[in-house]
Amino acid sequence: MSYIRPNFRHPEKERNERGYSIRNYEGALSTLCAGCGHDSISAAIIESCFDLNLEPHKIAKISGIGCSSKTPTYFLGKAHGFNSVHGRMPSVTTGANMANKDLLYLGVSGDGDTASIGMGQFAHVVRRNLNMVYIVMNNGCYGLTKGQDSATADKGSVSKAGVPSVFDSIDLCQMALQLGAGLVARCFSGDKKQLIPIIKAAIQHRGFAFIDVISPCVTFNNTPQSTKGYEWVRDHMAATGTIDFIPDRSEITLDYPAGSSRTVTLHDGSELHLQKNGADYDLSNRKAAMHQIESVKEQQKILTGLIYHNETKLDTHGKINTVDTPLNALSQDELCPGSAVLTDLNAKLR
C-alpha cells in the first residue's frame, strides 16, 4: 500500500459547489507499490473531479487489466467501475457510451494494455472519436508480471532486469494524433500542477481526449537508465507551457504576460490557459503538433503538456445520429414497433 489515509477530516472542510467533500471522490485504499506513479494520477483524477463539481455517480470508470487498470478502485468510489479484460477497455467503454451518452467515461489503461494487446481497440476508439477521457498510465513495463519491457519502452532504456530494450518504442501520442484524437496531451505523474488542469480539460472536451501520463514503476523500471524513471523524466521534460484550467463562469483572471500565453476554449465555455515556453506552434494544427513531438524527441527530450486540441469533429453519437435521450432510457413503447406493423410486414413476405 502506498499511503495511509487520515481517518478524520473536518466535516466542513473543502466542500465544492455541489456540497461534496473530497472524500466523496475517493475510492478504496491503493494496493499498488509505495511511490507508484499511478497513485499520483488517481489523486489528480480525484482532485479534478472535485474541482469540476462533478457528480461522482455520473461517472463510469472503465479499465482493462494491469497495475494501471486496478486504479479505478482507488478513486471515485461512488462511481460504477468496470475492470474488464486485457486490452479491451475501449470496446467496453464504446458500448457503455452508446447505451448512455450522458455519463462521463473515464477510461484507464496501461502501456501494455494499450500499446500491445489493446492496440487495435485503441486505434479504433480514437478514429470513432468516442466522447471519453482515455488515460494511459505509462511506465514502459509490465508491472504485474514483474517488469518485462512494454512496447512503449524506449530503445536503449534499461529496466531493473538490466538489459537495454532493443526494439523501437511506440509513441501513443503520435498515434492518437494520426488517428484523429481531438485532444492529445502528455504528462508526468510527478507533475501535479500540469496533470490536473489537463485532466480537467480532457473531461470538459467533447470527443476523444487522450492523455499519456508517464508514470514511473518504482519497483521494476525506475533505474537511472530508464527513460520512464523519475530521474530521467524530470531531467528531460520539455513542456509545451505552464497550464491553468479555467472552468466556465469562473471569474478567476490570470495575469499572463502579453504575447506569451494562449487560450484554448472548450465547447462548454471553459478555458485552458497555456503559458507557452520553448518553441511555439498552433495547438489546433495536427501537422505542427506531430512535428513538435518529433523535434523535441530529436533533442532527447519528452514533450509534455497539451500537445493538440481541436473540438470541431462530431463524436461517435453525432456521427451515427442518435437521439438526444440516452438509449438506455428509451421505453418499450418507444422501441417496440408492436403488432400494428406486422400485418403489412407479413404481407410483404408472401
Partner: protein, 621 residues
Amino acid sequence: MNAVKEINKISATNDFVIRFANVNGSGSASANNLFSQAVFRLGVPVSSKNIFPSNIQGLPTWFEVRINEQGYLGRRGGYDFVVADNGQTMAKDYQELLPGGYFFYDSSKRLPNSFSRQDVVELGVPLTEITNTHYSDPRHRQIFKNIIYVGALAYLLDMDFTVFEASINTLFAKKPKLIAPNIKALKLGFDYAEKNHTDVCQLNIHRRDLNGEQILMEGNAAAGLGAVFAGATVAGWYPITPSTSVVEAFEKYCKAYRVDQDTGQNKFAILQAEDELAAIGMVIGASWNGARAFTATSGPGVSLMSEFLGLAYFAEIPVMLMDIQRTGPSTGMPTRTQQSDLISAAYASHGDTKNVLLFPSNPKECFDMTVAGFDLAERLQTPVILMSDLDLGMNVHQCDPIEWDDSHVYDRGKVLNEQQLTDLNARWGRYLDVDSDGISYRTIPGTHPEKGAFFTRGSSHDEYAAYTEDGEVYARGMQRLLVKWDTAKTLVPTAEVLSDGADIGVIYFGTSAYSSQEALDQLRDTQAIDTMRIKAFPFGSEVDAFMADHAVVFLIEQNRDAQMKTLLVNELAIDPNKIISVLNIDGMPITAEFLVTEIQNQLDGLAGNRADKQQTSGGLL
C-alpha cells in the same frame, strides 16, 4: 441426341426437386427467387437452398428448389430437373440428374458429344441467341437471360403465368420502367418452350391453397427483426458469413421503425467493430450500462469472443449473441452449414463456464427466440446464444407469420432503480443471492448518487463485488452460479416431445427438424418412434425424462463429434450407450433420405441383435 420416346420420364405434380446451376454474380439469384416465390404464391409449399461459394463473382453456385405439396420442406436429395446455366459444372450437373429427369440447357451451343445419357430428357432453349436478338445492352443480356429461363419453366412446368406477371409488377412497383422488359423476357422463354417443347415435361406445378397465412423469410432477417421488437438499441458487430445479414436486417428494420419522425435521429446505435472481440466488448459495455445489446457472428467469431463471454458469465452481465453456424473447424467451409459450435458456445471461455443456448428450427423461431433470448439474458444476467446456422439464416424458409403480443412486457430482470435503492434498508450486495434462485440484484451506472455503485470485475469477487482471493468465498460464488444454472433450466424453452410410449426415441434440433419430421413419417410406417426436439440448453426435466423413458435414442446432428450427445451425457445422469448418433457433416442441409437409410439400418441391426438375444450397444456410428 437421345430418343425422347424411350425414356421413362419422371412424372409428378407438386412433388419434385429442381436445381439451378449458375455462375455467382450473374444475377441468377433474383431470377431463381422469382421462380420459388411463384411456387409459393401458387399455394404450393416450397423450400429453396442457395448453395453458394465463398466468392463474389465467377464461381459455381446452385439453387435447389423443392416443391412438395405434402409440406415437407427439408432437402430431399436428388434432382428431377436441372437448369444448366454454368459451363463449368454442366457435365457434373448432367451426371447428377436422376434417371427420367429433365436437363434444361442453353442450346445456342450444342451439347458436347459426351452428354450421351439415354435416360434423361434434354430441353434446349437458345437463351443466348434469344437475348442477343432482343436486347443490346450487355448487362440486360445477362439479367434477362435468367428471366427467359424462368419464363420457359413457367411453360414446361405448367405454371400459371399470371403469378409471374403479378410478381414482376410488385417487384418493380417503384421502378415501373423495368416491368415491361421483364415481362417480355418471361414471355420470350415461355413462347419458345411452348413452341419447341410442347407437352414434353411431365412435372407440373398446379395451384393449390396450402400455404395459408405462411410467409417466406430468411432466419437472419427474422432474428434481426426480433432484436428490433425486443428493444435492442446497441449492436456491435463484425462482418462474417453467414451472420452478416442479421445486423443488416436489424439496421433495415430500425430504419423503418426506429427513426424519430420529428428529428430524424436514430433510436439505435450500430457500430461495425474492428473485430469480434470489440463487437462483444461493445455488447457487454452497453448491457452493463442498461441497454439491450447484441451481436451476431459465426464459429470463428465465437472463438474470438470466448474470453469476453467468460467475463460476462462470471461478472454476470446479460449478453445476446447470435451464432449463425457454418462448417468448421477453422475457416472450414464458410458458405456451408453445420451444427458444430455447440460445445464451443456452451462452454465458451476458460475456467468453469456454461452458457444458455437456444436452438431455433425456422425463421419464426429465430424471431421468437431472439425476443425470448433478450428476456432470458437479462433475467439470468448471463450470455444467451441463439444457435442458428447457415441453412436457417441465409435460406428463405416458409414458416408461420411473425406474431407479436402487445401485452408482452420485456423482462428486464432484477434491476434496482433509484427509488428501490433509496428504500433499501439492508446492505445491498451485487452478488448476494437474496431470493435463493442464484440471481442477484444489479444496478445500472448513474442510477443513485449514494447507493448501488460497485466495481464490475472478471477477477474473483465476494457478494459485495469486492476483490477476494479467499477460496471459500470464491467457491461460494461459483456454486451460486450453479444455482442460477438450475433456475435457467426452468426458464428456457422446453423441448417439444411427441410421445406414444414407444421404446425407440429420436432426438433432433435446429434445422434438422425439417428432414427429421419427413424421415420419421416414413420410419413410423414400420416402427413406433417417439420424438423430442430440443430447443434449449441447459436441458429441462423433460429432456431427462425422455432419455429415461426410452431404451434406445437416435440423436440427429449435423456435426462429426456428436456434440449434442456430449452435452447430454455431460449434463445429465444418463447411459451414453443408449444414444445412437446419426451424423451428417458434408456441409449440406441434412436430407430425409439420409436419415431414413441410417436409422433404418440401425433399427434392422437392433432387431437382429434382439433376435440373437445379444445386447445392443450404442454409439454405433
